[in-house]
Amino acid sequence: MWSYLGRRLLVSVVTVAGIVVVVFFIMRILPGDAAAVRAGPYASEEKLEQIREQFGLSDPVPTQFVNYVRDAVRGDLGTSIRTGGKVTEELLIRLPASLELAFYAVLLAVLAGVPVGIVAAARRDTWIDRAARVVAVLGSSMAFFWLGLMLTFLFFFRLGWFPGPVGRLAITTEPPETITGFFTVDAALAGNWALMWEAFTYLALPAVTVGFVLSAPIIKIVRSSMIETLDSEYVRTARALGVPHREVLFRDGFRNALIPVTTAIGIIFGYMLGGNIIVELIFAWPGVGRYAYEALRVNDLEALQGFVIVVGLLYIVLNVVIDFVYSWIDPRIKLGQRVVA
């Protein structure tokens, strides 16, 4: 396992270097002038030049790249031209909000999608299966923004069951002391159950919005994997031998279907790590997606670069975790062993 980790670390370093290079140069070819936005309407050429110099934008691109890499290695992803703050700090402040939303949304998607997929496969071609397929199609075809707006309209504005889309907590509520950055967890750790409940109520609508849409691919993958497994010869043999239905379904069927499902969940979670810009905008969620959106609007290159690099790093970590999950699900998969055909 250690040799596997070592190799993954090496590959990760190369991957991160690749991300940095690609992101840096793509940002440089984007049209626009961040200095002009920063300077505002009273932007004399001297003023623009002064800003470019202040933020290192007037240096030759290779010099900018060397400076950027040197600082990035030290954890400094530059200064946002929009806020004047350190990008690393600004991303780290916002990341927990996105991760908390992603975690609960994916959790909801899995908790809803996996059972529905299993049931649909187990009751193939019944009304349950057809209903599950309808749900999957609805989820696949529904846009985040539409669902988010409808949910807030219905459950906040009309029924008043959930709070309005003002962020992670009520406007006048003080957030819990930061331990993990997840308000639900930090409030629980502080023993403040009312605050934890409040955090859950504010999470509910955005998490359901994302969770419902993300549950669609999970339903499809679980269903098709389960059907494939349940049609396999060893399952038929197990049934012929009189193994109980429940045992066949979960021990033989579901466990073997878990590998593609894990892959799908990993991809979905990775996608969510970068924050969901639309959902964060609709629910005023203070995550990295919204940060990236604001940065993109005004060509805040350092902020955008930092965002992409941090998300890339999270992807890499996630992939390693998924590899470990594979080996846990299927003991035949040995990390670090070469497969000889």
Binding site: G85, I118, G167
Partner: protein, 582 residues
């Protein structure tokens, strides 16, 4: 609920019974809090007492119980929750920033003087264009000098402090002017308008007396002095946080307020939340009708409108006209609309062919559907612009401005005179401006009717700015609002030769001479005369198509009072409150 769902589904898979999921309910937390405050000492009392200032930290620790009968009265003041047009990015006083960020600094920095407020029939508190009163300065006088300038003398109020307890002195006001003139910010570019170019013109006579001497007699002088960018800055704090590379502590103040105004910034989280708490050392703290302000950006305008209607936020700006028209029927919402002197315009870059041809420009000016834009893009929340000097501005000449109207026959005639055929023009608009994009479509359609093809290109704001600076966009929609609302200031910046924001690159020496004359005269008759002549040149040269003057609109919950409109169009919170029991 999710766990229940699993149980249900797994039970179904295994032949179990179905169960109904339980409904989840949540009660929204209240959005306002009643703050209990002991009545603050009046400014007059503070002056008499000259009590040593208490730091904010000390005040928190002390929270001394009030014992006198007069102080037993508990005043409940609401916290105001605001969601403004954009997200606050930084609060450095002399750095260009977003409107929300200007609203924060407006609440934090106290200028020497302020506009008198006049209550309108609809309850709106409108800043007077004529009358000003002392703010950071208790009294002030402005005299004409023999050299053709002004000498202004200000007596700084004693007893007022910054939020850390440091007393405000004349030196703090001089510091902010010095910083404007010599610092790296943009404010220094504006001061020559009022005849200030050197720090020597700002003199500290003693701790509480400040003199400002100008080299010209500009009508804008008093108006300039009301701007937040000339509010006292805590000089001791700034000096302590200055560095060799940053002598004026710009980096330090990116996320901190250093003013002596009604509020101080107790929390600044860019894009997410700003909390303004009353500054106990503010000279008029007793009159503040609220217990603080929370600014929470709500990026989605639809959600913002719903939150206002539901009473979750008290005041919002930046609601698009389309939604304002819907909200007009909502009994829980009050829309405060008032005309302004700002301008939205279709610029025609005269360095790019065929827009160097005046007849092409006139054809475009005549083709623009001005009324349709106000009705269908602004939903009536605008008035005709009528030129670079807009229809609500002093010295606007209606005999000229009213000629900006759609006349397709005249447009075709000008196009024929230009000798141009089969024209195709690029029209750039900003991605963040939905109204501009809608206007572009209507303009595209109108120009199609005279045989001009327009390609509308929606550009990210950064790209847009870069392209207009580089003269790469022939047609584009832009907007402007002049703090101080002075016609010559507006003309000078937007349309005189060589100005960096003269994006149309119009240049006419006779025009410039008129603007120069009007800028530095206080005689109303002369100002009117030269303004009219300049407006005529602007019209004859078809510099822009002035599209509309958008209203300043704020939306509040019906219980909110004290909406102010001053020279800057920046939201003001100092008068804002809620009707008790509403």
């Amino acid at each position: 609920m999710a766990a229940l769902l699993i149980v249900v589904l797994l039970a179904a898979a295994c032949g179990g019974d179905e169960e109904e999921p339980a409904a989840t309910t949540a009660a929204a937390s209240p959005t306002t809090a009643a703050a209990e405050e002991a009545p603050a000492t009046t400014a007059a009392e503070m002056e008499e007492d000259e009590a040593p200032a208490t730091t904010a930290a000390e005040m928190e620790e002390e929270e001394a119980p009030t014992t006198t009968a007069a102080m037993e009265e508990v005043v409940e003041k609401p916290i105001i929750v605001a969601s403004l047009a954009d997200t606050p990015n930084l609060i450095e006083l002399h750095t260009f920033r977003t409107t929300s960020a200007y609203a924060v600094t407006n609440a934090v920095y106290e200028p020497l003087i302020k506009q008198d407020l006049v209550e309108q029939a609809n309850g709106l508190l409108q800043g007077s264009f004529v009358d000003h009163h002392g703010a950071g300065a208790e009294t002030f006088s402005i005299e004409a000098t023999a050299d053709g300038g002004f000498l202004a003398t200000f007596t700084i109020r004693q007893g007022q402090t910054f939020n850390d307890g440091t007393p405000v002195t004349a030196s703090d006001y001089k510091y902010v002017f010095d910083r404007s003139i010599e610092g790296p910010g943009y404010i220094g570019l504006l001061l020559p308008f009022v005849g200030i170019a050197s720090t020597d013109q700002i003199r500290v006579i003693d701790d509480y007396t400040l003199e400002i001497e100008t080299t010209v007699q500009s009508p804008l002088f008093q108006r300039f002095l009301t701007f937040q960018v000339f509010g006292a800055m805590n000089r001791a704090e700034a000096d302590a946080n200055a560095t060799e590379d940053d002598a004026w502590a710009f980096a330090y103040y990116n996320d901190k307020g250093g003013g002596s105004g009604p509020y101080w910034v107790s929390r600044f989280d860019p894009d997410n939340e700003v909390v303004l708490e009353p500054n106990p050392g503010y000279w008029d703290a007793a009159s503040l009708p609220n217990a603080g302000v929370i600014i929470r950006p709500i990026p989605d305008a639809n959600e913002k409108a719903r939150l206002i209607a539901a009473g979750e936020i008290d005041v919002a700006t930046g609601i698009p006209p389309r939604l304002l028209a819907v909200l007009e029927d909502d009994p829980n919402v009050t829309i405060w609309a008032s005309q302004t002197t700002g301008v939205h315009y279709l610029a025609m870059n005269q360095t790019i062919a065929p827009l160097d041809n005046v007849h092409v420009r006139k054809a475009i000016v005549n083709a623009v559907p001005y009324r349709a834009l106000i009705d269908n893009v602004m939903y009536g929340f605008a008035s005709p612009a009528g030129g670079v000097v807009t229809s609500n501005m002093e010295t606007w000449d209606s005999s000229i401005g009213d000629q900006f109207r759609q006349d397709l026959d005249a447009a075709r005639a000008h196009l024929e005179q230009s000798g141009m055929e089969d024209l195709t023009l690029l029209l750039g608009v900003r991605e963040s401006r939905l109204g501009d994009q809608e206007a572009a479509v209507l303009i595209q359609d109108a120009l199609r009717q005279i045989g001009v093809t327009v390609d509308v290109q929606i550009l990210p704001d950064g790209d847009f700015s870069g392209r207009i600076n580089a003269n790469e966009l022939p047609l584009f929609i832009h907007d402007w609002f002049s703090w101080g609302e002075d016609p010559f200031y507006q003309m000078r910046f937007l349309t005189t030769c060589g100005q960096f924001v003269n994006y149309a690159r119009f240049c006419d020496e006779a025009y410039d001479a008129l603007v120069q004359e009007g800028t530095f005269t206080t005689d109303p008759a002369v100002r009117q005369s030269v303004s009219s002549q300049a407006q005529q040149i602007f019209f004859d040269q078809a510099v822009w198509a002035p599209l509309w003057s958008s209203d300043r609109t704020s939306v509040t919950h019906r219980c909110v009072t004290g909406v102010v409109q001053d020279y800057t169009r920046i939201p003001v919170f100092t008068e804002m409150s809620k009707i008790p029991g509403c």
